[in-house]
């Protein structure tokens, strides 16, 4: 046992030394995450502001001008052009000059003052970007309800219609994008660093020919796997902690839950990536191949993480796959602890899933490593196991063996050809 630990430690030291020799790589592994988060966090914090809006005012009254002015005063929309017709405005939208169009029809002000009628304003949003269209439409809705309130005044509540909604946002009262985007970036950066470092480990040794040297050392397979995993785990956790400090101090995002819990749940997340990475690096012949696999896996994880599109009701197979996506579970944990202040009692499900995925990927990597270090070792192993199963099946239940006759014939033929040759 003590020898084992010593061997693992020795290999870990060797990995650290190797990383330390490549100064540019080391700088990128340690400072890259901070720099990237600083840069992108600042940008993503902006949210959607000042979307260019075209106005088609077919009424040209005081009331319509007031509506337009209110739209311009919102944070989200900024009037950049007045169009004569809807066709003209649509042309601008096609070239991307405006993101939304507000059309105020003739008769707007008469309908507005008539208590029995409802004035309507049309808003057309650029649907080729779904974020833009959602934001623009919500802003316009907001202006409309504001005007309704102004006209009816506090005394005659009836003018607001029979039902109104009062909104209140928990955990993020101003509905800022930044906390959501920055937590997603943190998860993705930790993910990519751990995955890349782990995925190149064996592929690099193989390509440089040093894998043969490792083989003749007294290292056992488990030693090899753990020794390679330790540096990645350390880098992943160091990056995580540094980025946490940056997020709390620089971006001023509250940490409402326990940091310890977050750290504890980050460990299985990083281990899951080490498992994937080790698996990738064992099956790839070259580093280029490993990189392509890393990239493909990373894209899938991003897709399932629910950042681009909230991953909601997915049918059958997709849902099952999405449960294996560790980024998705990790983001639930991260946001739950940081922003919602949830404890383990509410987060046991994603926490357990993370641990399960970590165990699963490490087990896969271990099975693959046990088969041997050659890229085709596993195929040979599987083929051998399949032949053994086949033989056992045929020996135990001869009448049920479908290929029995053919096998006999083939064996006979082989035997015959060997004899004659």
């Amino acid at each position: 046992m003590k020898d084992d630990l010593q061997r693992i430690w020795g290999l870990a030291i060797k990995e650290f030394l190797q990383l330390g020799r490549d100064k540019l790589l080391l700088a990128f592994l340690i400072l890259g995450p901070l720099l990237e988060l600083l840069l992108m966090g600042g940008m993503a914090g902006g949210g959607v502001h000042n979307l260019p809006l075209a106005v088609v005012d077919q009424e040209r009254s005081r009331a319509s001008r007031e509506f337009v002015a209110k739209l311009d005063r919102t944070d989200e929309l900024r009037i950049t052009a007045y169009a004569e017709s809807v066709t003209e405005a649509r042309n601008w939208m096609q070239s991307g000059e405006v993101a939304a169009i507000a059309v105020i029809p003739p008769g707007y002000s008469t309908a507005l003052t008539d208590p029995q009628r409802s004035a309507s304003v049309q808003v057309i949003a650029d649907g080729s970007n779904n974020v833009i269209s959602t934001v623009a439409l919500a802003a316009a809705e907001d202006v409309a309800s504001q005007i309704s309130r102004d006209i009816s005044g506090p005394s005659s509540t009836g003018k607001q219609g029979p039902v109104t909604l009062r909104f209140m946002a928990r955990f993020n009262a101003a509905l800022e994008d930044q906390p959501h985007a920055i937590t997603a970036m943190l998860g993705m950066i930790v993910f990519q660093v751990a995955l890349v470092v782990a995925a190149q480990s064996f592929a690099r040794e193989r390509e440089l020919g040093t894998l043969e040297q490792l083989r003749v050392t007294p290292l056992k397979r488990l030693d090899l796997m753990l020794g390679k995993a330790i540096p990645t785990l350390v880098i992943g956790l160091v990056d995580f902690l540094m980025m946490m400090v940056l997020i709390i101090v620089w971006f001023d995002i509250p940490l409402r839950g326990s940091l310890l819990l977050l750290c504890l749940l980050t460990i299985p997340f990083v281990i899951a990536q080490i498992g994937w990475g080790t698996l990738i690096s064992l099956v790839s012949r070259t580093q280029q191949q490993a990189m392509l696999l890393v990239f493909a896996l990373a894209m899938l994880e991003v897709a399932f993480s629910g950042f681009l599109v909230p991953a909601g009701d997915m049918p059958g197979v997709m849902r099952v796959i999405s449960y294996v996506s560790s980024v998705q579970h990790y983001l639930v944990v991260l946001r739950g602890v940081m922003l919602r202040g949830a404890g383990l009692r509410l987060l046991w499900m994603p926490g357990l899933s993370l641990a399960g995925i970590a165990f699963f990927t490490m087990a896969l990597a271990w099975v693959r490593l046990r088969a041997g270090l050659d890229t085709d070792a596993f195929q040979i192993d599987v083929a051998g196991a399949w032949r053994r199963v086949q033989r056992w099946w045929c020996d135990e239940r001869p009448p049920l063996c479908p290929k029995r006759g053919r096998r006999r014939k083939a064996e006979h033929r082989r035997g015959w050809s060997r004899e004659t040759a």
């Binding site: 540019l24 790589l25 600042g42 940008m43 902006g46 949210g47 070239s95 991307g96 993101a99 507005l112 004035a119 304003v121 049309q122 808003v123 057309i124 650029d126 080729s128 779904n130 974020v131 833009i132 439409l137 919500a138 316009a140 809705e141 309704s148 009836g158 219609g161 029979p162 039902v163 109104t164 909604l165 909104f167 209140m168 946002a169 928990r170 509905l175 959501h180 970036m185 990519q192 190149q200 690099r204 390509e207 280029q288 990189m291 392509l292 990239f295 493909a296 897709a303 399932f304 950042f307 681009l308 909230p310 909601g312 009701d313 997915m314 049918p315 997709m318 739950g336 919602r340 949830a342």
Partner: protein, 345 residues
């Protein structure tokens, strides 16, 4: 792998986005429990925007929001029916989970729409005045499958970063293995070598456009409203700029591991966050604008969406096209400079 990987990744990514609509999980605390309040809840539930779960009490709402079991909670106060029928305004409280702003925004929009329809229906039935102004909204170009088309066309630039990163690694590999020195000794000149690499990777990636195109149009039904030749030309320009940037990375690093890490930092995360794929680029901040304009994918996301979904012409797209052209010339120049330095220095 360089040829087919973009299409395969596009299939996988797009399958995620096309698989079913997202429903907003809604908790409802109905304190009124009248026929009208039940009708209001039914209006919310009837077109599949929301999946509804009944709760009772503030604590349960708080717990459901904290554990992310619901996205929003609606509290219908007691006396809701009486107020609404008397011609006064009944006020319903909505508590949102503000963390995912996109979902919160969708919930707000959808709830406002449903409540507005419900209010107009009621005002007709009970002869009470309707709200003075309402907004009739629609999204241009994309009637129903907006999210899918917009995502698939926006993802095309991102899937092409796979072959581009392969180019960065190809250069780093020669360095790592020491075969670059051997090449320098041959009569192949620096620019010829660089040109060879560039042509090989750009052509291979461009060939990959065909499977991507087929995937997008046949499998996901993304419309193609623009000029196909223009699209191919602009894709080639995008690939030139991206491979140029990749070669710069390949020239600067010592090992393939470093090349992979740096490429991921430059091509992967920013491609999602900075390219305007989800959030439009905020032009108020100078640093962010400059950096996102230096990334080829920023311009190509805009071009891809405008060409595929809106059928824009070159005249309408002159700005991103010119930027892309400038970037391909610029990054190529930097690639040549760094390469010369690397071979001689």
């Amino acid at each position: 792998m360089v040829f087919l990987s973009p299409a395969l990744v596009l299939i996988a990514l797009s399958l995620v986005f096309t698989s079913g609509s997202t429903r907003i999980e809604l908790a409802i605390w109905d304190q009124d429990l009248t026929a009208l309040s039940r009708r209001f809840v039914a209006t919310l539930g009837n077109d599949g925007d929301f999946s509804i779960k009944h709760v009772a009490g503030r604590d349960e709402i708080e717990r459901s929001l904290k554990g992310r079991h619901v996205d929003a909670a609606v509290v219908i106060p007691s006396g809701f029916a009486d107020t609404a029928q008397s011609g006064e305004t009944a006020s319903v409280q909505v508590v949102l989970d503000g963390v995912d702003t996109l979902v919160a925004g969708e919930a707000i929009g959808s709830l406002l729409g449903h409540a507005g329809d419900f209010g107009i229906q009621l005002s007709k039935e009970y002869r009470v005045p309707p709200p003075p102004v309402q907004v009739k909204s629609n999204s241009a170009y994309l009637p129903k499958t907006a999210d899918q088309d917009s995502m698939v066309s926006g993802l095309i630039p991102i899937v092409f970063s796979l072959p581009v990163i392969a180019a960065a690694l190809a250069l780093a590999r020669e360095r790592e293995r020491g075969t670059l020195e051997a090449l320098v000794a041959t009569p192949v000149r620096g620019l010829e070598y660089l040109g060879g690499k560039l042509v090989a990777y750009v052509t291979a990636s461009l060939a990959g456009l065909l499977p991507v195109w087929l995937t997008a149009s046949l499998l996901f039904g993304v419309p193609f409203r623009g000029n196909p030749i223009l699209f191919v030309v602009l894709t080639a320009s995008f690939l030139l700029a991206s491979v140029g940037l990749a070669i710069v990375i390949g020239n600067l690093v010592q090992s393939q591991q470093a090349a992979t890490v740096i490429s991921l930092f430059i091509f992967f995360v920013p491609a999602f966050f900075l390219s305007g794929l989800t959030d439009p680029i905020d032009t108020t901040e100078v640093a962010s604008t400059v950096i996102s304009y230096l990334m080829p994918s920023t311009h190509f996301v805009a071009i891809s969406r405008a060409l595929l979904l809106k059928g824009a012409s070159l005249i309408q797209l002159w700005r991103p096209s010119l930027m892309l052209l400038g970037l391909s010339v610029g990054w190529m120049a930097v690639a040549i400079l760094t390469f010369k330095k690397r071979v001689t220095g």
